[in-house]
């Protein structure tokens, strides 16, 4: 191994990829133990997309009404359409209160009740007001607070670094190789433990709430390393995406009482979820919206419906939902105090991801065999906490709680184990990716990405069917071939956005194939995965997790990983 080939070589106990809530929370835990923790992030930490979360973080504090851990668990099980692993949910609800109080003790400016306690609001699929919130900028304040805590505890930050390959050998993680975006050049990070907390993969869609950064890099790295991905076909479409832009308008709007109406000014949710109405889970509301649109009851027959906040009144809108108000005004010139806001379903949350156990250790097969030293948490992971559909406000809680749990186990692991040797030629894979793009042909990344995103939105949305998905698979294969001939205009070292976007595209193309293959194989409808040609849930055949590998260029699926189900939470018909 020629270490001098790398401009930089870093030897660090725990290396964490991603600076959202999961990554930062893990880093903080490791750093507090006295070990060195480094966070590698392609954007400045406060730019991470956890900051985009608006409505709240779930915990049964019971500050404004009766609530219980059992209720939070039951709601999450049902919300997941019974695909979530219940041992994971149990751990989650048991840790959730601690996570919120910890955040409060760190200084998070939660909105308050009259008596000065953390305020809570209703959210879809939760049977009590459980969303602890800070206006509608909850993710933003949690993210900034955690970043500041990490500064206090001297977490090392490698800002604007793009990870290009995992260093694994004999099922032991040994570190990774990353490209320094700012200055150019490859760096080797030699680590005892590696956490992948790279977030979701919603950028494969054109209409999406996701940031430009959400290209599923960690998910793609795992696939490339010959490890499996889990339940990738389950992607949540958020019902209140800002029309055309896809930008998130928080479910907090409906939590505060907003309506969704069609062209006839009907609150159409009464047809689909009479009891919960607009506060049914997101998969249910998005399907209802898309059905209204498909049947011609979108506004003016077009592909959107209205989110109506007007009856909430100016004071409530500006005090509780100021960000939503500003977004509608800035992007659509709609004044939500006086006008309804055009909305449509938007690709939002990745339930699938990197399979891991309750200790956040990455697993490599249906039996749960562990890859030593490799961890995952947050949206990049599939534990599976959210199953086929996530409940709103469970994601911030997931990221923070399992981030902390990851930090605890990584610390233990680092204390017990020595550094493993790096594999031979550690730079080879990463260098190969760069060289190919710099020496590449006439194809460009932008049109390929746009074709992928447009087709994913068209065929892999709220409703899916076999014909569309087979076509989509063909599109992906063709785009993968074209990608082989992609070259970049920019040959410079410093801040080469052209190169980064081309590298990210390879990731999008890689895991999108897994999404489509999984969705094609799963001949049932469950949670966010709805097949018009198989509209019923089928527990007999499909109450199983999907594992997918890329082997010799082909996606191989395995459905032998069972769902963990407790006797008291047996699958039932899911009605709201």
């Amino acid at each position: 191994m020629k270490i001098e080939e790398a401009r930089k070589y870093h030897k660090i106990d725990a290396v964490i990829v991603g600076a959202g809530l999961a990554g930062l929370r893990a880093a903080l835990e490791v750093a507090k133990s006295g070990l060195t923790a480094a966070v590698i992030t392609k954007v400045y930490p406060t730019r991470s997309h956890s900051g985009g979360a608006q409505g709240g973080i779930a915990a049964a504090l019971a500050n404004v009404s009766e609530d219980s851990l059992e209720s939070h668990m039951a709601d999450t099980v049902k919300g997941s359409d019974y695909l979530a692993d219940q041992d994971i949910i149990e751990r989650f609800v048991n840790e959730a209160l601690k996570t919120v109080y910890e955040f409060e003790h760190m200084g998070v400016p939660f909105s308050r009740t009259e008596d000065g306690r953390i305020n809570q609001r209703p959210f879809g699929g939760h049977s009590a007001p459980r969303a602890c919130f800070a206006q509608d900028i909850t993710g933003h304040v949690l993210l900034h607070t955690l970043y500041e805590q990490c500064l206090q505890h001297n977490v090392l930050f490698f800002n604007e670094f793009q990870v290009l390959s995992l260093l694994l050998k004999d099922d032991v993680a040994r570190g990774l190789v990353a490209w320094d975006i700012r200055a150019g050049g490859l760096h080797i990070f030699h680590a005892k433990a590696v956490l992948l907390a790279t977030g979701g993969y919603g950028r494969a869609w054109k209409v999406t709430s996701n940031a430009h950064a959400n290209t599923g890099d960690g998910v793609a790295l795992v696939l490339e390393a010959g490890l499996p991905l889990e339940d990738m076909e389950f992607v949540q479409f958020h019902p209140t995406g800002l029309y055309k832009h896809g930008i998130l308008l928080s479910e907090a709007a409906r939590g505060e009482g907003a309506y969704i109406v069609n062209d006839r000014n009907e609150r159409f949710m009464k047809t689909y979820a009479a009891a919960k109405m607009e506060l049914a889970p997101r998969d249910v509301v998005s399907r209802a919206e898309q059905t209204e649109i498909n049947e011609g009851r979108g506004i003016g027959g077009q592909d959107y419906v209205y989110l109506d906040l007007r009856h909430l009144g100016r004071d409530k809108i500006l005090s509780r939902l100021p960000q939503i108000y500003d977004l509608a005004l800035n992007y659509l010139k709609v004044d939500a105090i006086r006008e309804p806001v055009p909305i449509q379903p938007t690709a939002h949350y990745s339930m699938g991801g990197i399979p891991a156990n309750v200790r956040t250790e990455v697993i490599k097969d249906a039996a749960g065999s562990v890859v030593k030293g490799l961890y995952t948490a947050g949206e990049a992971s599939c534990l599976s906490l959210h199953g086929a559909n996530r409940l709103g406000t469970n994601s911030l809680q997931d990221a923070a709680t399992f981030g902390r749990i990851a930090g605890v186990h990584m610390t233990e692991f680092c204390k017990k184990n020595a550094f493993s040797d790096l594999p031979g030629k550690p730079l080879e894979t990463a260098q190969g990716k760069i060289d190919r793009l710099w020496g590449g042909g006439k194809e460009r990344h932008a049109p390929i990405r746009l074709t992928l995103q447009e087709n994913m939105t068209k065929t892999m949305g709220v409703f899916r069917n076999q014909d569309d998905m087979l076509k989509m698979l063909g599109v992906i294969k063709e785009l993968q071939e074209r990608y082989q001939k992609v070259g970049v205009d920019d040959k410079g070292q410093a801040f080469n956005l052209d190169l980064i976007e081309a590298l990210e595209l390879e990731n999008l193309l890689g895991f999108s194939e897994v999404i489509v293959e999984g969705a094609l194989a799963r001949k049932e409808s469950r949670g966010a995965h709805f097949r018009s040609d198989f509209p019923k849930r089928n527990d007999g055949d499909w109450l199983r997790h999907t594992l997918a590998w890329r082997r010799s260029g082909k996606i191989v699926l395995d459905f032998s990983k069972a769902v963990v189900i407790y006797p008291q939470y047996q699958p039932q018909e899911r009605k709201y």
């Binding site: 997309h49 985009g52 919120v100 109080y101 200084g107 206006q135 900028i137 430009h212 832009h245 930008i247």
Partner: protein, 235 residues
């Protein structure tokens, strides 16, 4: 929605190639509802792949895409082109070293943040549940916590331009946010740090920061309250 032709001037700088930044012109067609970020993406994706800029959330919350458009600091993602008409002049934030094109070096900006101890300092025992904080107490700091660290304020601040040592509006606003948090016990430490010629006293209430802030935070007002607190504390 219609397509319109626009003329865009961008201040370009490619390290290793250019001695100094220079303007480049682009004539492109975009939708009339396009944002500045849409314009940059259009140029980068279809006209010139070498253009560099920062962006991520495209929904005004991550703070990546602060830049100067027709002389004003804005977030590219939330700023529609119709605010400026069909002639755009886009350049990086002032007062920072340019890394490439519209990308500036923000390391000094983030280093200043760390200097004011941007974390709750608590001497008292932690409660079992949350600290009680009244709505009025929260109100003191509420708006200041909206800051997205985009650096538009610092880049607009004439006191910051000639003096790299000045803490600048963003770090001082963060100091305010903790000093005025009812749960915090670290005011003395922080007030000592900001009571310096390169701390609050370098703020000459010019109000540029407030005008530049995409979150409309009343920064100057909060910095003034911080000054009062420094004086009160030293009496």
């Amino acid at each position: 929605m219609a397509m319109i032709d626009i003329h865009v001037k961008i201040l370009r700088y490619q390290p290793g190639k250019d001695d100094k930044p220079g303007w480049q012109d682009f004539a492109i067609s975009v939708e009339d509802e396009a944002t500045i970020l849409d314009v940059l993406n259009e140029i980068h994706w279809r006209h010139d792949g070498t253009l560099a800029y920062r962006r991520s959330c495209r929904s005004s919350i991550c703070g990546s895409c602060a830049m100067k458009v027709n002389g004003r600091n804005v977030l590219a993602c939330e700023t529609p082109i119709h605010r400026f008409g069909s002639k755009l002049k886009i350049e990086p934030l002032s007062g920072f070293e340019i890394i490439k094109d519209l990308v500036v070096d923000l390391e000094p900006f983030f280093a200043k943040l760390k200097r004011i101890k941007p974390y709750l300092i608590v001497d008292k025992p932690l409660p079992d549940k949350e600290f009680v904080q009244t709505q009025e107490q929260l109100e003191q700091i509420g708006e200041s916590t909206l800051c997205i660290l985009c650096a538009a304020c610092s880049a607009a601040c004439p006191s910051s331009w000639p003096n790299q040592e000045y803490l600048g509006p963003a770090a001082l606003l963060k100091a305010y946010r903790f000093v005025f948090d009812s749960r915090d016990d670290g005011a003395d430490q922080r007030l000592e740090i900001v009571n310096d010629k390169n701390g609050v006293w370098r703020c000459h209430t010019i109000f540029n920061c407030m005008e530049a802030c995409p979150k409309k935070i009343k920064i100057t007002e909060y910095l003034s309250r911080l000054k009062v607190k420094v004086v009160e504390n030293s009496l």
